[in-house]
């Protein structure tokens, strides 16, 4: 339950800040939650998952538009990878950023990731 709450917390914060700062919100929120990680019992993977969840929800909102499929197909042709792979990259990037930032930030703050 704690994990789920942490992930949701990170996702909400990331989604909110992203409206103003874009992708930078991911590492920024990861750093902020890392400061309070002992109190939150937050693990690195939770920060990453929260960021990915945030992007997934926002992406799902975009996907409701009729042209999303054609856009994904166009991007897949541009990058010469399948469309689902591009979506995977769009999930992997915030996860990697969130997880790695949280772990490194915790270490820098000399706090053991519990």
């Amino acid at each position: 339950m704690r994990s789920l709450i942490n992930i949701l917390l990170v996702a909400i914060l990331t989604g909110f800040v992203a409206q103003y700062l874009g992708w930078i919100a991911v590492p920024l929120i990861a750093v902020i939650v890392s400061i309070g990680s002992r109190e939150l019992h937050l693990r690195g993977w939770q920060a990453g998952s929260g960021a990915a969840l945030s992007w997934a929800v926002m992406l799902a909102a975009s996907a409701r538009t009729p042209a999303f499929g054609e856009l994904l197909a166009s991007l897949a042709r541009v990058f010469q990878i399948p469309g689902f792979a591009l979506v995977c990259v769009a999930m992997l990037l915030p996860f990697a950023l969130g997880w790695s930032t949280a772990v490194v930030a915790s270490a820098v703050l000399r706090r053991n990731d519990p």
Partner: protein
């Protein structure tokens, strides 16, 4: 810290560095993934922009009245304004909305600032553009505009509209290309339109006739060059009708190839490499017969409905988005015009109003010359010699920057009184070019749509100087007219396809051909007019030099042949004619090739040659998709060219490429002289004649076709499997391009296709000028530049099938059928 924890932190640090790097930096061709994939401001927003209408109310500064814009279901905006300036403001807005990146890219290509958008790899293209003097000339033309002129007002108004769109953009709204290049849109300047028009001059009017001539002369001497690149086409079917009811063949024996002057080749090669960078960007066309443009008009006396019909299909690079954008502008009592505009240019370039319709083909005349200059210092010249006096060279320092403003390269452009000067393998050459002279082409494009008849349209186009265009016009009164109009330089000598001595001002241009000596026809007795980039006037009707090495007139011959054969033309038949798969080139060559091949068979029987003859004899001479013989014919023509003109093989090339390819019409001329010295293949000890070369070509073509396409007559031989249209995205990104679109056309058919597939009919239009004007049109692409929009490529299938869309031309917004309105908005200044 325990060891396990340390490893985890180290791993996280590596992932962090890597993920920040890919998120924030462009790595190779992959853009920064953070801003690209960001769900708030990233590329995903383009899906919404593809279908989302703008707000119902739009704010555009400086609008005097309200402007209603109604989009039909083809994505064409119908702009209802109360003043012309307002109409151009809104035109700028709607075109920017659909084509912003294209407008920006085109401007940068001329200005020579592509590197600021795409980085150091494009510095050489920028350098080549600036060296031609395009940007400097655009700046001079813009500065010279009368501030009260219609052109200037239109430029300012259009700029208001474009910038209104740009100012309203958030990063999330940027077109996909900016995201891929990690760039941002530049503010639109009124001068950008002039830059664009200069770019069209480069595409259409950079006809360096002396370059090909130098290369040929280097190998076969002056007489040889004169023969292969003549001032007059040996087949006469001119734009200005010459009273003949059939093409005239002025064939004469070609003088034998002579000794060359190899010093010319080095300079010619240097000049060729000078335009190579521009060739790769598609801004300069290779001079081949497979591309061009057509237009024709039929007088009421030859139409079923007794109304004039006009048709046009300019052939340009096939790109996504298209070079054209369709629009309809209505200012009650002032202007009511529909057709296509260039994104970046206020006004309808090709189109129709309630009374007249017009279109263009390229003139292809010789409008630039090179001069060999004598300078004071071979490496760093500051003065050049003219009439015994040293004149100062104008120096213009140039800086090339990247997107961050860092200087990537510097150089200094030099100008003589003639134009830009450059060093080509130790020789300093300056260039004079009509495109760089003072002019106001936009004034013509702004004025012409107001024309109420043919005479007014021709009058409006008198200002047009460059590029030279065959402007065709028809009106509701049944008049048809054509003028190959523009600035034709007059030289002190007879011809202009030479290198001139720059030391004497006596070699400078003496002026320009007056209007009354330019090729022109109105309401000819034959009842139709046509142009297809051929020599514009029969040399028996003028002594004026207008160019050399003209395109072979195959398309003009085919068009005229069809027009002569019918006196009850309808718009439907005219539309079908635009994709007619017949070819005057095949009709001309097939009999002589078969005659020669059969004579050789009689001399020396040969199974392979007999098979090639059998295949070609079975062809209906039409480039249909299912034809299995067209492939062999084209392969044979290619072999025949290569084997006949062995004297022109590039001595430095590793393959068998020629320094220049004489027009097919010259080859046909040679085929009337079977023992001419040109038939001999210098690479063999034997002495070849026409029969030998034709036989070798056919045998070799058959072998090559079998190797490339499989067994004779198999599916691989079908023309539709071989010849495609390839519609490239502006950045040549394969994923955003549409390639391998089978087309029913070949070299020199009315709808031509060259081997690359990159060029072709960019806008097909047919207009019937009856009591109510009816029009049809199509271009290969769609109105939107957004690849995720259904309007990005929605017209390609119909275009490839040779079909047209009916163009809606309502008098009022209410006249548009409700079911065909996709969305609308009202623009005002507050």
């Amino acid at each position: 810290m325990n060891k396990r924890f340390s490893i985890r932190v180290a791993l996280a640090a590596v992932v962090l560095i890597a993920s920040v790097a890919v998120a924030s930096r462009q790595i190779g061709p992959v853009p920064a993934l953070g801003p690209l994939l960001d769900p708030v401001d990233g590329v995903w927003n383009l899906a919404g922009a593809a279908t989302r209408p703008p707000a119902a109310q739009v704010h555009i500064p400086n609008l005097v009245g309200k402007v209603d814009v109604v989009y039909d279901d083809r994505g064409v905006p119908h702009i209802f304004a109360t003043s012309e300036d307002d109409a151009y403001r809104v035109l700028g807005y709607v075109v920017a909305r659909d084509r912003l990146f294209q407008m920006d890219l085109q401007t940068r290509a001329t200005k020579g600032t592509l590197s600021e958008l795409a980085g150091a790899r494009l510095v050489s293209v920028d350098s080549s553009s600036r060296a031609l003097g395009l940007a400097r000339a655009a700046e001079q033309k813009f500065a010279a505009l009368d501030k009260s002129s219609a052109s200037y007002r239109a430029l300012m108004a259009y700029s208001d509209g474009v910038n209104a769109w740009i100012d309203g953009l958030q990063p999330r709204d940027y077109p996909m290309e900016y995201r891929l290049l990690s760039g941002t849109p530049a503010k639109w300047e009124p001068i950008n339109t002039v830059y664009f028009l200069m770019r069209m001059n480069l595409t259409l009017g950079y006809n360096d006739a002396s370059l090909a001539r130098m290369r040929v002369q280097a190998l076969v001497g002056k007489a040889g060059a004169d023969a292969l690149l003549p001032v007059n086409s040996p087949i006469q079917e001119p734009v200005q009708p010459n009273g003949s009811s059939a093409p005239r063949y002025d064939f004469a024996p070609l003088p034998a190839p002579g000794a060359g002057d190899t010093t010319l080749l080095a300079v010619a090669s240097a000049r060729a490499s000078d335009v190579n960078a521009l060739l790769t960007m598609g801004v300069v066309h290779p001079g081949v017969d497979g591309i061009g443009s057509n237009n024709w008009a039929v007088a009421p006396s030859r139409t079923l409905n007794k109304h004039a019909i006009l048709a046009g299909d300019p052939h340009l690079d096939l790109s996504l988005p298209s070079v054209w954008y369709e629009a309809h502008i209505i200012v009650p009592g002032v202007l009511d015009v529909a057709g296509v505009t260039f994104p970046g240019v206020p006004g309808i370039i090709i189109g129709f109003n309630r009374n007249a319709a017009w279109t263009f083909t390229n003139g292809g005349s010789d409008v630039n010359d090179y001069y060999v200059e004598t300078v004071d210092d071979a490496k760093h010249p500051r003065k050049y010699l003219l009439d015994g006096e040293w004149k100062n060279i104008v120096l213009k320092p140039e800086e090339y920057r990247d997107g961050a403003g860092h200087v990537l390269m510097t150089d200094t452009l030099m100008y003589t009184h003639r134009g830009p000067m450059r060093n080509f393998r130790g020789q300093w050459l300056s260039m004079r070019w009509t495109a760089l002279e003072p002019s106001d082409e936009l004034g013509s494009f702004i004025a012409a749509p107001h024309a109420k008849n043919v005479t007014e349209w021709l009058s409006a186009m008198e200002k047009m100087q460059a590029p030279i265009q065959n402007g065709l016009v028809a009106d509701r009164s049944g008049n048809i007219a054509i003028r190959a109009g523009g600035a034709y330089p007059t030289r002190p000598g007879v011809r202009g396809d030479l290198l001139f001595d720059g030391r004497s001002s006596a070699n400078d241009w003496t002026g320009f051909l007056p209007l009354n000596r330019q090729p022109f026809a109105m309401n000819p007795a034959q009842g139709f007019l046509a142009s297809a980039n051929q020599q514009p006037i029969d040399p028996r009707q003028t002594a004026d030099y207008m160019g050399s090495d003209w395109y072979s007139p195959w398309r003009a011959m085919r068009i005229n042949q069809l027009l002569r054969a019918d006196s009850a033309w309808t718009p439907e038949k005219i539309r079908a004619m635009q994709t007619d798969p017949g070819s005057a080139r095949v009709d001309a060559f097939m009999p002589v090739i078969l005659r020669a091949a059969k004579a050789e068979l009689a001399r020396r029987p040969d199974g392979e040659l007999a098979m090639a003859v059998h295949i070609l004899e079975g062809w209906d001479r039409r480039y249909t998709k299912t034809s299995t013989q067209a492939a062999l014919f084209e392969q044979s023509m290619s072999e025949l060219q290569r084997r006949t003109w062995d004297e022109l093989l590039d001595p430095k090339a590793k393959d068998s490429s020629l320094v220049a390819s004489p027009a097919d019409a010259i080859l046909l001329e040679l085929m009337s002289d079977s023992s001419n010295a040109w038939w001999d293949d210098r690479r063999t000890p034997a002495k070849e004649d026409e029969l030998t070369i034709v036989a070798r070509s056919l045998r070799s073509a058959l072998a090559a076709s079998k190797a490339k396409y499989g067994a004779v007559g198999s599916r691989g031989w079908q023309w539709g499997e071989i010849r495609y249209a390839n519609i490239r995205h502006l950045l040549h990104i394969p994923g955003l391009s549409r390639s391998k679109i089978p087309v029913e056309s070949g070299p020199s058919t009315i709808s031509p296709s060259d081997a690359s597939g990159f060029h072709g009919p960019s806008w097909r239009m047919v207009v019937e000028l009856g009591p109510e004007v009816r029009a049809w049109g199509i271009y290969p692409g769609g109105q939107s530049g957004n690849p995720s929009s259904p309007l990005y490529d929605d017209r390609i299938a119909k275009w490839a099938a040779g079909q047209h869309d009916a163009i809606l031309f309502p008098h009022t917004a209410a006249e548009l059928p409700a079911g065909r309105v996709s969305y609308k908005f009202t623009a005002s200044s507050h």
